[in-house]
């Protein structure tokens, strides 16, 4: 252990420090990270690479795969947009207004993080089914929510709800009221102040929150499969198609779809990092 620490220090990978344990903690972290995360994921990458371009392309452009990806990304996008509007609203009332039960509401926002997805799934399915509380209300209007893509959107709204609130809230708390007062003294009305002064500063946080909710929504499984109805080509999400391919022992199919989703999620992660770096440069916070 001392050898590696010395070698690391000599190679100037880290700055010298009197604190011990660099080799031990970094070594353990990297070993654990490799065993649990990196090796299994590279297994997936290797498996995809050994598949051959033709086979991969055939699976990737298969009608059912494309529809499943479209359903996953489309519903996650719509749910993300809904959560942007209401997430900003919820963050706003939590930061700006004082009302009874504010702290309770603040804690309750995290419920989707804490509630197991399968539990959320069966609860939403029961609520929005044609004989459920909400489902029976909208049924006379000819509206069907459960077992349609609309049901998937409802589940993803639930799952994504805390993301925008929790990314926007801390940034909103740091807004200096002087900028708003300045805007007001310069003759801006409240709406103009919010739109031209406050929103631009909140935009990076809103985009980050949207991206996080979107990424979560694309991969979400537990809360969706109960309410979706899982009709191929219509309300079948990509993660479910992976499970179906696995159950058919069609490992190549499952692997190819997973790789496509992974590439897109990494791209999302990259974009989130860019947004945060950009916002740090421009606004001094992420």
């Amino acid at each position: 252990m001392t050898d590696t620490t010395y070698a690391v220090a000599k190679w100037r990978i880290r700055k010298p420090s009197v604190i011990p344990g660099f080799g031990l903690t970094l070594g353990f972290s990297l070993a654990y990270l490799s065993l649990i995360i990196l090796i299994p994921i590279s297994g997936l990458v290797w498996r995809t690479a050994s598949m051959g371009w033709g086979e991969f392309f055939a699976i990737a452009t298969d009608e059912r795969t494309l529809r499943a990806l479209y359903v996953s990304f489309g519903t996650a996008f719509v749910a993300g947009l809904v959560n942007v509007v209401f997430g900003v609203l919820v963050a706003w009332i939590l930061v700006r207004y004082n009302f009874r039960g504010r702290r309770l509401i603040d804690s309750v926002v995290d419920l989707p993080f804490a509630l197991p997805t399968a539990v959320a799934g069966i609860a939403l399915a029961a609520l929005y089914a044609p004989n459920g509380w909400v489902g029976s209300l909208v049924a006379p209007l000819g509206l069907k929510i459960a077992f349609t893509p609309l049901g998937i959107i409802v589940a993803l709204i639930f799952i994504g709800l805390p993301f925008v609130v929790r990314t926007v809230q801390p940034v909103m708390e740091e807004i200096d009221s002087e900028v708003e007062e300045a805007a007001a003294t310069l003759g801006a009305n409240r709406f103009q102040t919010i739109r031209r002064v406050l929103l631009p500063g909140l935009m990076p946080a809103i985009l980050t929150g949207f991206a996080l909710a979107f990424a979560r929504g694309v991969g979400e499984y537990g809360s969706v499969i109960f309410i979706a109805g899982n009709i191929p080509y219509v309300s079948e999400i990509a993660p479910l198609l992976i499970v179906i391919r696995l159950e058919e022992f069609h490992y190549e199919g499952a692997t190819a779809i997973a790789s496509i989703m992974l590439v897109i999620s990494f791209a999302m992660l990259f974009i989130i990092n860019l947004i945060q770096a950009w916002s740090r440069r421009r606004f001094g916070h992420a």
């Binding site: 009197v18 804490a114 708003e180 537990g222 490992y251």
Partner: protein, 296 residues
């Protein structure tokens, strides 16, 4: 109609807790609060309430019968066992990673933090799939281990691995910003006074991070006990053997045994509520000591 409420005269008559030019009229304020609360009630509260209503639809007897049924008890035991293995593993990793990242400056640190966050951006189903590819019957490793009598997939080790994967970042990402904020001054002081490395960790660092650590463990545990997608892929759904509570809920639901499904679901919902309460308590009482971790 409430336009003049913004004028100084109006606010002088009606004292307000909030500043004037930089706030909305009371009418707009109430409207916004109402809209936000309605949204939360509809999308958060209603599903939560419905779990308990559905579970008690046939009375308390049916509810408790569903909980003491052998398969349900086996699922509860397995869930506790998996969390009891996965959470300490990720706790040790979280502390080690946070120590390396927060107390030292080295190249590739930002990249390492990104890698630690990786499981959050991967679909749970894919988290399970990677282990199926690694240990399945079509892999190199699977048949080899099987010939030595080691079962990973469709057995408890696979469930533990998948759970460790999805809960991997929780403790680390709470501790890293917290320990970065705290710097290295305390540790350097302890070391200069003659404490050993381990003494410094146990007596100086650990007391500094204990509430942040607890916070991370709390969130890690909630996810570990509630994980569905990843575990569902690797478990094989063998009743009484490899079914965790969320998987048991799914099976019961798919068998149209709704009361039993929701009965088991109430236990998980209670876990979520307890988690939220403890989380709120930690944030309120020790906010400063976990504050760094709330800025995500």
């Amino acid at each position: 109609m409430h336009d003049n409420a913004r004028s100084p005269a109006a606010s002088a008559r009606k004292p307000e807790t909030f500043r004037d030019a930089a706030s909305e009229t009371p009418f707009v304020r109430h409207l916004l609060i109402f809209a936000a609360l309605a949204y939360l009630a509809f999308f958060l509260l209603l599903p939560l309430v419905s779990i308990f209503v559905e579970a008690f639809r046939r009375g308390a007897g049916a509810y408790f019968d569903a909980l003491i049924e052998p398969d349900a008890l086996a699922a509860i035991r397995l869930t506790l066992l998996v969390a009891a293995i996965a959470v300490p593993l990720n706790l040790v990793f979280g502390v080690a990673a946070a120590w390396a990242i927060a107390k030292f400056e080295f190249k590739g640190k930002a990249f390492l933090i990104t890698l630690i966050d990786l499981p959050f951006s991967i679909s749970p189903v894919i988290s399970g799939l990677v282990y199926v590819l690694l240990f399945g019957s079509q892999s190199v490793l699977g048949p080899l281990l099987k010939s030595h009598g080691i079962e990973i997939l469709f057995a408890v080790p696979g469930i533990v691995l998948a759970t460790v994967f999805v809960t991997f970042p929780f403790v680390a990402r709470e501790l890293i910003p917290l320990m970065q904020d705290q710097g290295t001054g305390d540790e350097e002081a302890a070391l200069s006074l003659g404490a050993s490395g381990w003494q410094t960790f146990w007596r100086v660092t650990l007391p500094n991070i204990k509430w942040g650590l607890l916070y991370g463990v709390l969130l890690c545990n909630a996810r570990a006990m509630g994980e569905f997608g990843a575990v569902s892929v690797v478990s094989g759904h063998i009743r009484g053997l490899t079914n965790t509570m969320p998987l048991h809920v799914e099976i019961l639901y798919n068998e149209y045994n709704f009361v039993a499904a929701f009965a088991v679901a109430t236990l998980l919902a209670l876990l979520a509520l307890v988690t939220l309460v403890l989380k709120a308590v930690l944030e309120r009482r020790f906010g400063a000591e976990i504050a760094a971790s709330r800025k995500h």
